[in-house]
Symmetry: C2
Subunit: 253 residues, 2 copies
């Protein structure tokens, strides 16, 4: 077994060199200063049956926004289980402890989780009340259905998970709009699961500036090169659509 | 507030139609059957200071692989805090309870977390022992440094987070190799953070077949359209590299 060179306390060795070479203090300072003035509170809703990546993709970007404070909010404080049942995410605060946020992010879930959330007035009521004072109200995947159940999407251009678009339109009156994410005033809805990463980079640029958002994209090394090109229902076709939904159903608790 | 149409118990309405149209049982059955025969155990290591997306990106894909069982493993069972300090992920099993796995996935962390893990013989010893019997041993981001500390990467083509490549080569003798992920025998190392999603789709195809992996890509609607093109250090340039590392340092606990 190799031993670790403990005399070097950073494993990001290229980091220090790059920082020095680029004049780090001059680059980093303005963003940091603007940030601490902003004091941006970002609330991410966690609930039983959530799809983890819907929350964690945006969290990974938004938690690095200068001056932002991300808080994970659940019906009560404590762990929630995700849709597959094999992962727990911890909500640090209860809904009642977070009456306001500058940014609200509502992740999606599978059928069981999202139906329970849509039918829970404690959740939809909180979403509706927090939304009144947000700068940005956002959703990922079927999280849009929870915004819909809170009455926020009637007549509003929006998107959601590809297989839930019809439901979002017919049940909540949203105007289904193409795009990886859709901006409608202060409401931004993202398409399914991984689309939250794309949306969060746009949101980061709105909260700070393009330069900072571009650095955040590098921070999470988001240079996607999927081995296939089947990430949208149009590209995948009906047979893969059916299999995708079967795999989701089979993996759901 | 809108009311939910409770008579419809699925919000994936397009789903049922697509499934029916494509002859779902014929499509879904072979994959499911192959899967349950495989009985693939996938162990994802969680540890204090982990970068959440390194684990959750692959988890989201791999937990849908037919017949796969994902288990989150920590030094002890219970929650670990991520590198930003604002998210907890729950490890359901302790290291000693998971002596074998078909697939081992080691996520990365910031400086503090990854150094602690590299220097912890309980972790590196477990990684080394589990690796002996895996079908695939994988890492995301600086998780490669933990594979290195376990003695698995000497002379092995590999990658890691862009800012840690020099460290991985000089400290652990890995042969730094370009690519979003690098396959070297049964070891697959992914680049930083979000690269774990790309790797996990490749891994899904190795565990099943391309068709199933393509459906999993649609299941997580992975049709990436980042708003910027700054996801690699080469594309971003030295100034954004410096800012990215500063933002990571500022958001670390």
């Amino acid at each position: 077994m190799s031993t670790v060179d403990s005399s070097r306390r950073t494993v990001l060795k290229a980091a220090a060199a790059a920082a020095a070479g680029a004049g780090l203090s001059a680059v980093g300072a303005p963003a940091a200063a603007a940030a601490s003035e902003n004091g941006i509170r970002i609330a991410i809703l966690l609930y039983d049956g959530i799809t983890a990546l819907d929350a964690v993709g945006p969290y990974e970007v938004l938690s690095r926004v200068p001056g932002a404070e991300v808080v994970m909010v659940g019906k009560k404080a404590g762990p929630v289980r995700t849709d597959t049942g094999v992962l727990g995410l911890v909500a640090d605060r209860a809904l009642r402890d977070v009456p306001r946020a500058d940014v609200l992010l509502v992740p999606g879930a599978g059928n069981r989780g999202v139906i329970a959330a849509m039918e829970d007035p404690a959740i939809t009521g909180w979403v509706e009340r927090v939304h009144r004072h947000t700068t940005w109200t956002t959703s990922v995947c079927t999280g849009a259905l929870i915004l819909g159940a809170a009455g926020l999407l009637r007549g509003v251009p929006a998107t959601t998970y590809w297989a839930s678009k019809t439901y979002l339109a017919t049940t909540f009156g949203a105007v289904i709009t193409p795009g990886r994410f859709v901006e409608s005033g202060k409401i931004i809805t993202a398409a399914g699961v991984s689309a939250g990463i794309d949306m969060s980079l746009r949101l980061a640029s709105l909260l700070t500036d393009d330069h900072t958002a571009q650095a955040l994209q590098l921070a999470v090394e988001y240079d996607p090169q999927p081995p296939f090109d089947t990430g949208s229902p149009e590209k995948a076709g009906p047979e893969l659509q059916a299999l995708a939904l079967q795999l989701l159903a089979d993996s759901a608790t």
